[in-house]
Symmetry: C2
Subunit: 325 residues, 2 copies
Amino acid sequence: MTDISMIHAAAERLAGHVRRTPLLSSPFLDEIAGRRVLIKPECLQHTGSFKFRGGWAALSALDPVARARGVIAFSSGNHAQGVAYAAKLHGVPSTIIMPADAPALKIANTRALGADVVLYDRAGGEDRNEIGDRLAAERGLTLIKPYDEPQVIAGQGTCGLEIAEQAAELGITDADVLVCCGGGGLTSGIALALEHHAPAMTVRPVEPEGFDDVARSLVAGAIQTNNGPQVGLCDAIITPAPGNITFPIMHRLCGPALVVSDDETRASMRHAFTRLKLVAEPGGAVALAAALFHADQIKTNTVIVTISGGNVDPSLFAQILTEAD
Amino acid sequence: MTDISMIHAAAERLAGHVRRTPLLSSPFLDEIAGRRVLIKPECLQHTGSFKFRGGWAALSALDPVARARGVIAFSSGNHAQGVAYAAKLHGVPSTIIMPADAPALKIANTRALGADVVLYDRAGGEDRNEIGDRLAAERGLTLIKPYDEPQVIAGQGTCGLEIAEQAAELGITDADVLVCCGGGGLTSGIALALEHHAPAMTVRPVEPEGFDDVARSLVAGAIQTNNGPQVGLCDAIITPAPGNITFPIMHRLCGPALVVSDDETRASMRHAFTRLKLVAEPGGAVALAAALFHADQIKTNTVIVTISGGNVDPSLFAQILTEAD
């Protein structure tokens, strides 16, 4: 199980490879939020999301013989690119199972990052797990899960180490830390890091309306699922349920989750554009939306906000930019 | 006149106030450019451009009595915001003379950053210098020029100190450094910093077609002017001529300038969006355009590229995003 020593070890393996993203701010965002807002822009991480941290951490923790045979992952999005690029930099093969109807650009990017992309027909009922199991067996590949995997959580936790250090440099030890939350890998990793390095901070998961499985699970004290549609604006953080490994960590360490509307998320993407000069994808902007539009649910003088990714289609981004607030 | 000791002194005054922008990269940009591309994203600087460096350096160098009376600047753009915010953080008044037909958002932003914005009617023939002289005399204000001012050049030079340090951390000492160039404040400041801290690097100014006064001046060995229109896509870096202080520095230290088309600049803004998750304004994207589309004019294995600002209107950005490459 992931603990602080695993996060420290992951940080050592990531040193010189991961990008230490800065901590940004804007007086305009402070004014809207009614408090100091510090932004941790993981959209600036390699491959445009925090997923490179977990991908590298998992790859670098493998036994060298297993690693040389290669890795496999299921993903149509950020985890695919994070694992593919980490594998490429390690000089080992990666196989990524993607739905054939994934955006052509994401398929092309994942291939360009060195992966062997295997497409499956999700409409036609092909079972990606069956394909994955077969390929893993044939090729001797190691599966890297997107969040319910201790080394992946440890890798995402390195983002929390940086938050603790960078906030301390500003003299800040007490803050709510809002984390864009899908399966809970980033959220639980940051929570573990802050438990040890910034114990007065509280991690608050943030989810989109209609996909608030973590919020409901934290209230219920047990894993709850999303039973509605599995697609939405915030695709990067839509998951059926929190993980079996991530949920107990979040339950032990996190404060109440926050839930934001798609309109608030879109407005936050515009604010990130105007005030921070950052490209945030919808799923990466929900934490900023919570800071700006749910200030009444936050009590600390400073709020720290992750922007977890920036892999958004240009046409969608252009459309959102031209909407009125 | 600005020298390396003035830049070091500016860096000391800026410490803890300026943002140390990271050095970014993307394997996709490397592939297009045919070499390693390192990006210095000053769009992530306070107020969305490098101008905050010069504004702070000039404010903080003033005699405290003079500073307390306040400062004045002429600008419709990035210099206005940089000076206004630096003055606000110093707790002193700023007066910014802006054309009445400047974009409403820029006027509103400059006011929100604490400035007393004085509008003049440029179509009606009001003389902004006359207005400025009168206000400066009445209020005892100190004028902060946008580039032809030694302390402003020293402030911009701190960007060069960071480039030298960050490149050295990557083991890089030899590179062309492409700088988006208007009046030459950033270009000459970086050139002075690198002369002392990375002498194997060569600064190359980059300009838009039709506004290549620095390119022509460097060839001629004497200041040449732009005699055509004074408006264009790359508004932030359109100036009538290099400065009397900046030009001799550029002439002594810079390699040949590069000139890019507006179409190349627009394509570079799309690449910054897709590959770096950064919002670059047109004038801030010309150096990236040179790296990507004029690779034949660069000889070094590594090229370092400034993205000097990100203050672009959302509707223009949306339009550029949806254009085909």
